[in-house]
């Protein structure tokens, strides 16, 4: 009994915090719409990490990720006056980012660029796996190499998806968003997002069949 009432209290506290946080964000948005640069900067700080993370994982390039970050927030700044609170600001900003990422992916497909590794601004390869902490005291170099090669194979398979399939898989598998949210961001339905995810996983399985 005590546990249930404590759970209820925790939920009420969380709900209140959520409402307060949304009210605070709505206030920031209105101030930004009225021309407040400080309010817009505060909004950028709330979302910049996720935006850069998404762009970096999709493009595999720090330079391209920076460009997408720049274009997304400049677009948001220009069009924030058109935001009508019909969806969450989170969905709105992600809609801008995903469109930019899709454009980038389409351009790459047109130019047939092949980027199987993440590169930094100087063009040097970043070993993403090395940046993931390894709890084991002694790492096995052969195993590390296998993991690196596997990561490259995964990236190659992802690049064979259509831009839209890649985007849905990225948002679902790597960013952990719900299909309904993904549908809103891509201006489509949850059902379509679900079908796209299914097609993407089928294609990936076919590409990676030899590795399992």
């Amino acid at each position: 009994m005590g546990g249930a009432s404590r759970q209820g209290k925790d939920d009420a506290v969380r709900n209140r915090e959520r409402v307060q946080s949304r009210a605070h964000e709505a206030e920031l948005i209105r101030e930004a719409q009225a021309g407040s640069r400080a309010a817009f900067d505060a909004l950028v700080r709330q979302y910049e990490h996720q935006v850069l993370r998404l762009a970096l994982h999709l493009t595999g390039s720090e330079h391209d990720a920076e460009d997408i970050y720049q274009d997304a927030f400049l677009k948001a700044y220009r069009y924030i006056g058109n935001f009508r609170f019909e969806c969450s600001f989170y969905t709105w900003i992600y809609r801008i980012v995903t469109n930019l990422c899709l454009d980038q992916l389409r351009r790459r497909k047109t130019r047939r660029e092949d980027r199987a590794v993440v590169v930094d601004r100087a063009g040097d390869e970043i070993d993403v796996l090395a940046s993931i902490s390894d709890n084991r005291s002694f790492s096995d170099p052969a195993r590390e190499l296998d993991r690196k090669l596997l990561g490259e194979k995964i990236q190659e398979a992802l690049e064979k998806l259509t831009p839209r399939e890649r985007m849905v898989f990225e948002l679902k598998h790597y960013q952990g968003l719900r299909l309904r949210t993904i549908g809103e961001m891509l201006n489509t339905t949850e059902e379509t997002a679900k079908n796209t995810l299914f097609r993407a996983t089928k294609k990936l399985r076919a590409q990676l069949a030899g590795l399992r």
Partner: protein, 327 residues
Amino acid sequence: MNCELAQEWIVTAAYGELADEQIHELERHISGCAKCQEEREQALALKALADAHPVAEPTPNLMARARLRLDEALDTLPPKHWYERLGEHILNNLASLQAAPAAALLLVIAGAGAGVVGGYEFAQGRAAHEAVAQAATSQARASSATALPELANVAGISEIVRRPDSEIVDVSYNQLVPRQIEGSLGDPAIRQLLMLASADASSPRVRNDSVSLLAAECRAGHSCQPSGIRDALMAALRYDKSAKVREKALEGLEPYVAQDVRVRDSVLEALLNDSDPAIRTEAINLLEPVEADTSVRQVLYSVSNSDDSPQIRNVSRQVLSRMPEIQ
């Protein structure tokens, strides 16, 4: 349940998106179907395999660099013009009303009702005070030693004060002084006046002349900066009541559709919202070269389904069919 549906549900379930009752149904199917059991193992294995390509967190250096670059770009952007903010405010309010037709109808009825009642009260009050006002005014005229100035070119009234216990009213006003200037199209003063005329002139002819000149400058590539002439043309395209002016503005923006995303967006907006079919058709022609932009495709797709003009629906479908497959 057949295996084809089960395989779709397996993927959905692997990502935690299947409804509880569907999970139950799926489990019943899988328990009796070896093929689908294998499918589920494969789906889970793929999930685990995909994690071999982990998501890298942006480094602090990258974050700092990106933020600095954004700050520099925002610092160089000009502040929004008053007409841009007003336009956004009006459009947002209109959109709210469109989304609430019942509220809009109530507003109209309330407004009309208030107008009828207010008008009646006003007429009653006016009749009662007319005789008194006439006498007082004649007296004021007889006693006033100040001659009324010539009231030409009044720009605006800044203050009205009624003297206590009197029918005398003090009115402060501003008066326009007509001036003329001549110079070349490259002259900054001339350009500034042309940009003002494109937004503020009450005469459609003057607005048309100014937008035509500005558009010609842009098409000729004569210093058509993003903040300045381009802004003025985009505002004219969005807000001007004259289709002729909007058409000229669109022509002036043509060279920048590919390179300037703001110009592209304003052309897309014209395609979606302009009341003149000729302008919407011209907008489609301007957008055709920009095939990599997702927004362009989305708008063309929407227009091909919902535009009032069959010709425009047809033209957009043709343009879409020439683009690589929409995915």
